[in-house]
């Protein structure tokens, strides 16, 4: 094979661009939950497919990093595999599917079930960064509302839910108050994962490529899901265990298994599921051995 015709800069983006993104990230970290505008660049994938997340990852990744990419909770979807391959190629970074071995995790929806630790970075791909968008379409006005801490409107949305459904029906992108100051959209993350954002030891970075916004939650920051005194936030719950690994208290996906509408419920976090199942098998074989012995 001949040498590649184009030599990409490390991390694909040029150094100037990475600096621009890093500056936005630093500002985001300094003002937790505040949406920082940035000059979103072209990356080799369509907008809306995680270009914001990719630019954030590209700006923080180095050859010594280990990257995990999940789409929903899975490491093996097309998008996740492509992004992982992309950074292996342009950043020389190692990749993994194991949460506990990753230094950077890029995600579209889920926060892994395995608790994150210090020095890990969780990068969210965000489609709509403005939590007030659906109620107030004018960007000039929503920015003013954030600046002046006028969040009555956000509660109107929650009020409407309770009036209509008897409870707050929102199960994803559930608005949070960060560090007691800015109301923030957690992107399409299920509300099940909201509590994991609170006081997380990991750094959480959010990139919205099409919308040209970056925001962040530094480690150990208060993240409070909004609610009323008499209708507080309640994360989604699943009453059953995963049918593959038997875990309880995890986020389950409904998987259609036949043409007759049969379905099973299994962990959406594939890495967690595989390792839990594996541990159980090992445990069982140890038990069996002990019994035999």
């Amino acid at each position: 094979m001949s040498a590649p015709r184009i030599v990409y800069n490390e991390g694909y983006l040029d150094e100037q661009t990475k600096r621009v993104v890093r500056r936005a990230l630093l500002k985001g970290v300094a003002i937790p939950g505040f949406q920082v505008p940035f000059a979103s660049r072209e990356v080799p994938m369509p907008r809306g497919w995680g270009t914001g997340g990719v630019q954030v990852t590209a700006s923080v990744i180095g050859p010594e990093d280990t990257l995990k990419v999940i789409d929903q909770g899975a490491d093996d979807t097309t998008n996740a595999v492509s992004i992982r391959a992309f950074f292996e190629k342009v950043a020389g970074a190692a990749s993994t599917t194991r949460t506990d071995q990753a230094t950077i995790i890029q995600t579209r929806h889920r926060i892994p079930e395995t608790p994150l630790v210090e020095n890990q970075i969780l990068v969210y791909q965000v489609p709509i960064p403005e939590p007030l968008r659906m109620l107030e379409p004018r960007e000039t006005e929503t920015r003013r509302l954030h600046a002046l801490e006028e969040y009555g409107l956000m509660y109107v949305k929650l009020y409407e839910d309770i009036a209509k459904y008897g409870h707050i029906a929102r199960t994803y992108d559930y608005p949070v108050l960060v560090n007691g100051r800015y109301v923030m959209a957690p992107s399409p993350t299920p509300s099940f994962d909201n509590p994991k954002m609170h006081q997380s030891p990991a750094l959480q970075l959010f990139g919205a490529g099409r919308e040209k916004r970056i925001y962040a939650i530094p480690p150990y920051t208060d993240v409070e899901s909004l609610g009323f005194e008499d209708y507080p936030f309640e994360p989604q719950r699943f009453d059953r265990p995963c049918e593959i690994c038997g875990s309880t208290g995890v986020y389950l996906d409904e998987i259609i298994i036949d043409d007759r509408g049969g379905a099973m419920f299994a962990c959406s976090d594939t890495d967690y599921c595989e390792r839990t199942a594996q541990q159980r098998t090992e445990q069982q074989s140890t038990d069996t051995k002990e019994v035999t012995a």
Partner: protein, 270 residues
């Protein structure tokens, strides 16, 4: 009423569109509980005046002062620290606080004053939520109370204004504006565009709520009958200037200016 200081004090106020004045040399004081009608034909400057009073337009000349406590003062609404403050010196945050707590604006077109796809209850509850109410049951109870006061059937609380008639929309708008019990409400032709019978009902409602709450109101109207029914005092405007002002029934019964006499003589006798 027993306070010797006005709530709103306007002195020689004017606004310029390019090199032409939309209104000029307007002066008046407004006390709590007073309803002031601004009447005139299209182009008389009455809407421009409402614009500068409500800070939608810049005050190019003169001053508009409002009685309130400084943001840093501890006085609050009832506090002794209240003083007449020049509106143009207040910060945006301060002005918006006044819009949340002290002022209301009833638009001619309800769609400008309501969120048409949020329920009536949500529309009326929003000012409460904006002022920090965080108990759903209390917000809903207050919204119900106000919808009842503006004669909207309780079972419509979860319907959106988009499904309401023009008269009902205006009543929801009034409830939304009054639910936090402001001190000063601006109204821009609130009854025009409605059927005559609906108009009468709405005017009556406005009149009784204003009296009960002791509100100060500036209402802009081209309809002298509206001014007669609900206002205490009237300013007559023409070509951007106030040409006559005073007690409403004196302005209408004993008009001094030629233009006012013409306006009054043009009223259809009911």
């Amino acid at each position: 009423m027993n306070d010797d200081r006005p709530l709103l004090s306007v002195t020689d106020a004017g606004h310029r569109y390019g090199d032409r004045f939309g209104c000029r040399n307007v002066s008046f004081d407004l006390w709590p509980g007073e309803v002031l009608a601004v009447v005139g034909e299209s182009g008389s400057g009455k809407s421009t005046l409402l614009g500068i009073l409500s800070q939608r337009l810049r005050v190019d000349e003169g001053s508009i002062r409002y009685r309130t406590a400084r943001a840093d003062g501890s006085g609050g609404r009832e506090g002794s620290a209240e003083e007449l403050l020049e509106l143009s010196t207040l910060s945006e945050r301060e002005v918006r606080r006044l819009w949340r707590t002290d002022w209301g604006f009833v638009h001619q077109n309800a769609a400008e004053g309501l969120r048409m796809h949020v329920s009536a209850g949500g529309n009326v509850g929003e000012p409460l939520m904006a002022n920090g109410w965080r108990h759903y049951g209390q917000i809903r109870a207050k919204a119900e109370e106000w919808l009842r006061r503006v004669e909207i059937p309780a079972e419509r609380i979860d319907d959106t204004p988009a499904t309401f008639s023009g008269g009902m929309r205006q009543r929801v708008q009034i409830a939304r504006n009054l639910v936090f019990e402001p001190r000063l409400v601006f109204m821009d032709e609130p009854t025009s565009g409605l059927d005559v019978s609906v108009q009468a009902r709405l005017l009556d409602l406005i009149r009784s709520l204003v009296a009960e709450l002791g509100l100060a109101v500036v209402i802009v109207t081209h309809d002298l009958a509206v001014a007669r029914l609900i206002s205490h005092r009237t300013l007559v405007m023409k070509d951007g200037a106030v040409i006559e002002s005073g007690l409403t029934d004196r302005v209408l019964d004993d008009p001094q200016a030629a233009y006012t006499q013409l306006l009054v003589s043009s009223i259809l006798q009911g």
